[in-house]
Amino acid sequence: MLPFSRWGYLVVAIVAAIVLAVAVACQSAPAAPQVTERVVTQVVEKVVEKVVQQTVVVEKLVEKPVLITPTPAPTQAGADMAADQTIHYVTRGFSRLDPASEGGFGRFIISHLWMPLFLRDNKNNLQPWLATGYQANADGTVYTVSINPKAVWSDGSPVTAQEAKDYWTYGLDPDQCKGCYLGAFGGMELVKGAKDVIAGKSKDLTGVVVKDQKTLEFQLTGPDPIFINRLALFDTGFAKMEDVKKGPNFASDGSARVNGPFMVKIWDLDKKQYEIVQNPKWWGDKKPAITRIVAQEAADENVSFIQWQNNEVDVALWLSNIRERIRKDQANTFFNIPYATNLYFPLWLSQAPMDDLNVRKALVHAVDWDKAIAAAWEGARNDRVMKTILTPELQCYKKDNWPGWGYDPAKAKQELAASKYGSPDKLGKIRITTGGQSPNYIRTAEIMAEQWKTNLGITDVEIKPGTLDAWGQDAQSVQVRRQSQGAILPDALSLIGSHYNTYTDATSGSGLKDDELGKMIDTLRSMKRDDPKFCEQIQQAEAKLLGNYYLLPMIWDVYEYNAKPWVKNFNANVDNNWYTLLDIYLAKH
């Protein structure tokens, strides 16, 4: 079924490789990652070598130019460099450092301590990181990845493929790795044997095969055209098991070995001291200019805002609307984290009155979401009202792809009247949990309740801020629960599939059922993302999913870093990671 003959591939491959090699060679900026140039060479060699043996591999390698696309040349550090290259970073809080358990605020640095095999840039293009390249078989069920032969730990010992396998086995095993996400994020469960490890049935991750000291083979349970993207996730970096066995806070005192350009000096959650320094045994060709990162927590973002205004910090990550004050006059300090998120209130279809589609439609149509979000989010998310699941950051995003969406009180009344409940007094109590104490969520819930009262006459609504536990014995009868989903893997199908799986899962009790949609998603799983029909089909799936009216929308959230103008070459990827850290330097100021 291949569009070219074998010789056709050979010609295309060689031409493409030469063009790329020339392009890289012509890069005038010496700061372009040297590791990338080396990959180009290796890829070219592999192309030539593999073309003779196996045409399919060549196709894959040529089809994945992301591996050899250099990032734009960063500004060169030079005479403008400040004497002190310490970054002062402030955010809301930190948790323990361990790749498999990383769920939030350590993401800025974790991929520079324990390196994943690949690293994404701001546009989600893959770059070589711990690995130099990969090969895939024809149907995308076997991937072979080469670890950089120069890679060593900070104690000088070589980084081996076996260490990766041991760590991932640990990371997937819930008995060993408490509070870890490796099995939940990104799709490691697609590897053969992973589900058994996650379920505690096996201690052997059979699908990861150590071919030699520097080569790993991933055998998957089914075709996955984007598997290599999963190996760029921050959770897939690996630490040495000798260190990990010291306990969950093994990285706190700085003794943990790393294989990235930076290492931990101290990461003490009790003392609130967080400091990252250069790894003296860093094996990469490019040496970082930044010598130290001093991170600090500020639970009250008003306080960290004052620090920012006083130039006491260089980089900040805020979650509240405090940043809107900066946006007015310091817009150039914002760096978007291209992370697609949905914040919303799913409806528990298993609970009356949400079992009736007309009730659900009425509840959506009775709220003026644009105004509600503008008020609840203080005007900071006006253009981020969640009108679809896919966000503008993702491939295949289609505006207004929610059938019948919109504020229409008259229609809402008709829908409620057409429901099996007929009138608002027959609905019973509607219980809302805000899933946290965020004022934004609470305000949204209050606005919903008030508009239901005004537009539909629904008065028996109870809101409880906090988690579902706040409801005590009534927790199971809560019909409106604030939740969120994010595209940790920047892939449209992953986000749609995650919604579908979450709310059709019998154990969740949410009660969504749509077998036809399930079949559509299954068909999409093995489709290549550049297939011309992919977007069309995923948009159909999204419309079908949203046609169930199983959620009340809120927003596509926005995450951003703020970096002072003297922090040169700063940027962030979908993992919240400062992926340009090797190029970052502080200019005199």
Binding site: S320, A376, P439, I442, E446, E450, P465, A470
Partner: protein
């Protein structure tokens, strides 16, 4: 001595005689009249009385004096400063801040009075049991008081909210299912009663200790001995002489409990275990805007200042009552 004796003039003697005559002609004032007179001459106490009176009036007449329903939203006018339409401005979802403050006054007053009332009732009963019930009753009650007072107030209140509330609400729900009583359809009021009635569990020990101490002290006084000697039964002595004479300090402490109740209500609401949105509570109002204190300060300052003024007012009144009802008080001089 001789100098002193020589000093008074004839005029001074006449003045003293007139004063004595006037005193003899005056109707004797009761303890309470005397206390009221002292209270009204204490400026801070009068200010406290006015604030407390205003608070109670606002709580009772809130629906009539509030310019808007406190849940009504205007999403196009959020977080506005004071205007003629909205004298204190609007909150984060466009509700009139003054109406929310008035609604919050009702919550605070209701909670303060409910918790204080139950605390006094429980405390008095326990205090009387401890002082009249014999050695074992005394021991049991005083140990119970010690244990209760050793638990942090907020923690105890939170525990009551978390453990007893679901049980009682489920019972209410079952009762509604069988009887259909309309009062049980919406259990919001019942939740309030449980959570804030539960605060009496926190406050009663002080009252019990106060009553016990007073009764034990008064029992040894001559007038009680006299009553006992003429054959007045013990229950009548308690009712007629002991409780009325012990009530002074209780009244004083009640005012402090009222203010503590307001603060605790706000604290629990701030922590998310008290009054639930969209009900108005000063604590809730502070909590929902604390993250924006640096750029919308009035949304925090107005409820916080109201809480501070209300608490201060009730405490002023308490101090004044203490001075008025306790003749031995060092601070009984009129301010």
């Amino acid at each position: 001595m001789s100098q002193i004796a020589a000093a008074p003039s004839t005029g001074a003697n006449r003045a003293a005689q007139l004063a004595a005559l006037e005193f003899a002609q005056k109707k004797p004032r009761s303890l309470w009249q005397d206390a009221l007179r002292k209270l009204m001459r204490n400026r801070l106490a009068v200010i406290g009385l006015v604030i407390t009176g205003l608070l109670i009036f606002t709580a009772i007449a809130g629906d009539w004096i509030a310019p808007y329903p406190y849940t009504r939203q205007d999403l196009l006018r959020t977080a506005e400063g004071p205007t003629w339409d909205h004298l204190l401005g609007t909150d984060e979802v466009g509700r009139d801040l003054l109406s929310r403050i008035i609604g919050g006054a009702r919550t605070a007053t209701l909670v303060a009075f409910i918790s204080t009332f139950f605390s006094v009732v429980i405390g008095m009963v326990m205090g009387i049991i401890a002082s009249y019930g014999g050695r074992w009753a005394n021991l049991l009650v005083t140990r119970l008081i010690d244990i209760t007072m050793s638990i942090p107030t907020v923690l105890l209140a939170a525990m009551i909210a978390a453990t007893f509330k679901p049980l009682i609400l489920n019972q209410a729900k079952a009762l509604y299912a069988t009887t259909g009583w309309a009062a049980l359809k919406n259990t919001g009021w019942l939740e309030l009663l449980i959570v804030f009635g539960g605060l009496s569990v926190v406050f009663w020990p002080v009252f019990a200790r106060l009553i016990r101490g007073q009764i034990l002290s008064l029992r040894e006084k001559e007038f009680i001995e006299a009553a006992r000697a003429v054959g007045v039964p013990e229950w009548l002595i308690a009712l007629r002489y002991l409780i009325p004479n012990a009530i002074g300090p209780v009244i004083v402490y009640m005012t402090f409990t009222l203010s503590s109740g307001m603060v605790l209500e706000s604290s629990l609401s701030y922590l998310g275990i008290g009054v639930m949105p969209p009900q108005a509570s000063w604590g809730n109002m502070i909590q929902s805007n604390i993250g924006s204190w640096s750029y919308r300060p009035w949304l925090v300052a107005v409820p916080a200042a109201t809480l501070a003024i209300a608490t201060l007012g009730v405490n002023f009144l308490g101090d004044g009552l203490n001075d008025a009802l306790n003749p031995q008080s060092q601070t009984s001089k009129v301010v």
